[in-house]
Subunit: 243 residues, 2 copies
DNA sequence: CAGTGGTCTAGACCACTTT
DNA sequence: AAGTGGTCTAGACCACTGA
């Protein structure tokens, strides 16, 4: 793996986060930017960079002329929708100790929509990986990941499905997953997925329908995920655009 | 209203957005930061601020050593979940010409959960406003907004319900809505809301369950919204946290 | 009026990509 | 080697808050 040293801003962020969750700041008041800059031996700009990001995450609130404060409400958010990356991590953030189960790995011809999403020809072979994330034998998340076979260097590997998808893409396709464009949809569970999640068919559920892109902005994976909303809820902070 | 002049960064953002959607840049390549800085007569830092925000919105991609590029995929997102503010605006962004219909305005005692959310006593009177957003007589969004009566300066105003909620809070409560903490839930439509949206009871739908806070971080409104997913879809960009 | 965050500048140096 | 974005600094001035 690449060993990149954390930037000063990252270190300041980590330092502040630790002090914030540790409750170090009296009445939620965070020291002035200049004071922190002097104490930590960095410039005020670096402190402000860290503050900007913490504010965007909803962890702090800045008030001109007044000060910078801990935001208790934002602090309680466990899974911020915009920076979900690995479901394993999401579940651990919720206090679970998740396990993963590979349900199926098969090859199918791409349908119209998938082909368009992945930038391939309809009918082209696609590797479909079906997985289940569980907490204590209790299923929580069901996912399909679909990768065009033409991207894969090696022939289909038996252990492939058990890797996290970003690692699979890295190792077997030489692609580095950069971001997803996700559509959030309500669905009535179909018989198969319902059975896998131990729910009744027709139960309403949240679904992500998304395309993952690599660093060159090329589509590499089509994914569909379904969640048990009684076990996993997503929160986010909404603001006025540009504010 | 407050008349604040747009910052240089804001102006640069607007300028770049216009050129980007206008297709001004050959092959999606955006000029080097230094060049833009010279051309626009601002510092490179200002350009970089604007770039950072555009990148976060998914409109551009920056590649160290290579350049800055338009992101066609991010450009297609109409409603970014994180910066939805007014539903009226969301619908207009989708190319609709929306209208709003006030269904009901009534006073109710607060339940346990709502009281906790709004920081008031259970049983305290709460003004409930029920609205419908339509496109061409076709209902798209159904909302409830709940505001504690103790926040309201004037007695219940007949025209109150027709204002956008942030304007209502501004005028009638003297509170400036700053952000929402939203929970995204799948629901099976109840009879009433289903009827309002011209759907069958039990249809799965997306719902926002949220609390709005003012600038002093005090809860001011509890809201529940339900959407017709065939007419309105939400997208967002997901990234690895901290990236 | 003192202290805070908000904006902006000019410039240095580094890491990476491309030629 | 040249050109690009990434990080960081030091300092100026502004806008706003609160005593």
């Amino acid at each position: 793996m690449i060993t990149r040293k954390p930037s000063l801003t990252d270190q300041v962020m980590a330092y502040l986060k630790e002090r914030i969750v540790g409750g170090d700041f009296e009445e939620g008041r965070i020291p002035p930017e200049m004071e922190l800059a002097m104490d930590l031996g960095v410039s005020r700009t670096t402190i402000r960079d860290a503050f900007s990001r913490l504010e965007h995450e909803g962890i702090i609130i800045r008030r001109q002329g007044s000060g910078t404060f801990v935001n208790e409400h934002g602090l309680q958010i466990k899974s911020r929708l915009e920076d979900i990356w690995s479901y394993d991590e999401v579940l651990r953030d919720h206090g679970y100790t998740p396990s993963v189960q590979v349900l199926d790995t098969r090859t199918e011809p791409a349908g119209e929509k998938l082909a368009a999403d992945l930038g391939i020809e309809p009918g082209e072979p696609v590797l479909v990986m079906e997985k289940l994330f569980l907490e204590n034998d209790q299923p929580v998340i069901h996912t399909y990941n679909r990768v065009a076979e033409r991207l894969m260097g090696h022939p289909d590997d038996a252990a492939a499905g058990s890797l996290p998808i970003y690692e699979f893409l890295e190792r077997h396709c030489g692609r580095h997953l950069s971001y997803y464009v996700s559509e959030i949809l309500p669905v009535a569970l179909g018989a198969h997925v319902a059975a896998m999640l131990h729910l009744e068919a027709g139960t309403p559920a949240l679904s992500f329908d998304e395309v993952g892109y690599d660093e060159d902005n090329q589509p590499v994976v089509g994914a569909t995920s379904v969640f048990r909303d009684d076990l996993l809820r997503f929160r986010l902070i909404r603001r006025k655009a540009g504010a």
